[in-house]
């Protein structure tokens, strides 16, 4: 128990110090655009308690739904592509092009086609976050072990079982890597889709504060956004540790020469 506490303390040490440093250095700041930390923290509660249900939670909800959509789409498309080399070769240049379009650049197009409501925001998130999942799924499916695949053939393991037990589980380390990258992209796109033409959401609120020159509130929004990113990242780490327990175990065995 103390070991966990100690590593937690060690992990929080430098960030806490930096945070305190920021507080100290900015304490006497007269700059309009870079207010003192304590001013920012002061308005934190009042700003966001009223906005929790109207802005923050809907944003997080859209983020999670869009992210889930991206993961499902990426895996659903990546599995067949991973297993069909000719189809992959045919679609590869087109996919290279579409994936290279910076997702924010597609926001105007989506606004044109779908208006400025929630569907547009969800599509923006999916359109950007699907790529790492898709590409990593393809790589993971391609790399499924040949001996394992032959074993399945010998024992007559086909169809859904094979998909579930061999392909998806085998590709899961790679898929999870893609999911991690997709998460950061999803957060960025959630914010951008709301900064643009929106009337609710965390991104919208931050931009609104900026336009109204409510600077401490704006910074509090930025802090909140940062905290959201960190929390989601930590949460993902927990998910990954559990889902890939077998993988981490196997790799540490190999490293120790087992």
């Amino acid at each position: 128990m103390t070991h966990a506490l100690r590593s937690l303390a060690r992990a929080l040490a430098l960030p806490a110090v930096l945070f305190a440093l920021w507080g100290l250095v900015s304490a006497g700041s007269k700059s309009f655009y870079l207010p003192p930390l304590h001013a920012i923290l002061g308005v934190f509660g009042s700003t966001w308690s009223s906005r929790l249900t109207s802005d923050v939670l809907p944003s997080i909800g859209r983020l999670l739904i869009g992210y889930a959509g991206a993961v499902i789409a990426g895996v659903a498309l990546g599995v067949p592509l991973g297993g069909r080399p000719r189809l992959r070769a045919a679609l590869e240049p087109a996919l290279e092009l579409f994936r290279a379009i910076p997702p924010p650049a597609l926001v105007p197009v989506f606004m044109l086609l779908f208006g400025i409501g929630t569907p547009m925001k969800l599509l923006v998130i999916v359109s950007g976050a699907v790529w790492p999942v898709l590409l990593n799924t393809i790589e993971g499916v391609r790399a499924v072990d040949e001996v394992l695949s032959d074993t399945c053939r010998c024992y007559g393991i086909t169809g859904l079982t094979r998909l579930r037990v061999l392909v998806l589980r085998g590709a899961s380390p790679q898929i999870v890597t893609g999911m991690r990258q997709a998460l950061s992209i999803a957060i960025i796109l959630m914010v951008i889709s709301e900064m643009f033409a929106s009337s609710s959401g965390l991104g919208y609120a931050i931009v609104d504060f900026q336009r109204a020159f409510s600077i401490p509130q704006m910074w509090s929004g930025i802090l909140l956004l940062g905290a959201l990113g960190v929390v989601l990242s930590l949460g993902f780490g927990v998910f990954e540790a559990r889902a890939l327990r077998w993988y981490h175990g196997q790799r540490s065995e190999h490293r120790e020469g087992g």
Binding site: A13, L14, Y33, L97, A100, P108, E139, M195
Partner: protein
């Protein structure tokens, strides 16, 4: 001993593997272009919102004849390149410093994990306030986002230095500079190349984002202008150009990485994307 030779019998229609792959790729691109040509023409989506491929290409041709287009392209390239260079330099230096001391690595690990997930877009309002719709706004976003991949990869690379080699260098009392040049840099180079490749892609995305959202000069800004003035084919044409830029960056840096590391026995494989 019977060993069957060619006997003049080759499988009919057999081409080299790479040729058929290219052929398939061309087919794929043509197919996609055809789909986007037919969907608006068939009325599935209004051609006002989704112009056919031919209209987009035509608008592209017209744009390419204007000076404003090329100016915007250069602006984007400048923001991207400048930001990338700064980010890579800062990331490499910081990475070498942090990576070469186990204590520093441990102490900064959590801070990096805290700062990394903070989305770069959070800085957009700050950039707007501080710099307005200028190149410096673009640079702020690009440098912030592109710094992290390089930093993390270089830390990894420097930490990967063989401890026996490092001890040997120490026992021969080689100067710090010599150690860095002949021991640390070659080990860290593959990691650095991977980091640069990742950062290059990220830098382009952030450059376009800054131009789009803040209005800094560049293709992203032109895209927003096209949307606001409902010049829809031009909008799609510009997005296509940005996509081509992205492909050029991805392909170019992958090739650069292969070239630079051709001699290196273990080329680092980074997961695709």
């Amino acid at each position: 001993m019977t060993r069957v030779r060619h006997a003049g019998r080759r499988r009919a229609g057999r081409t080299t593997p790479s040729l058929s792959r290219i052929g398939l790729g061309v087919l794929g691109v043509a197919g996609v272009a055809a789909v986007f040509e037919l969907i608006p023409r068939a009325g599935l989506v209004s051609p006002h919102y989704l112009p056919p491929t031919s209209a987009m290409l035509e608008a592209l041709g017209r744009e390419a004849a204007t000076a404003a287009f090329w100016r915007a392209l250069l602006d984007t390239a400048r923001g991207w390149a400048l930001g990338l260079v700064i980010a890579v330099a800062a990331g490499a230096v910081a990475g070498v410093v942090i990576g070469s001391r186990r204590g520093l690595r441990a102490a900064t690990a959590s801070t990096i994990e805290f700062l990394r997930p903070i989305p770069s877009v959070a800085l957009i309002p700050v950039a707007v306030l501080l710099y307005g719709a200028q190149l410096r706004s673009t640079l702020l976003l690009v440098v912030y986002a592109s710094f992290w991949p390089v930093l993390l990869q270089v830390i990894h690379g420097v930490a990967d230095v063989d401890p026996v080699a490092r001890d040997t260098a120490l026992s021969y009392r080689l100067s710090r500079w010599v150690t860095i040049r002949h021991l640390i840099l070659p080990t860290a180079l593959p990691y650095l190349m991977t980091g640069v490749r990742l950062s290059a892609a990220v830098a382009l995305i952030l450059a376009i984002t800054a131009e789009l959202v803040i209005g800094a000069p560049g293709l992203g800004h032109e895209i927003e202008v096209a949307r606001a003035s409902s010049a829809v084919p031009v909008l799609y044409a510009l997005i296509f150009v940005v996509g081509l830029l992205g492909v050029a960056v991805n392909v170019g840096f992958r090739a650069l990485e292969r070239r630079v590391l051709a001699w290196h026995p273990s080329v680092r494989r980074e997961a695709a994307a």
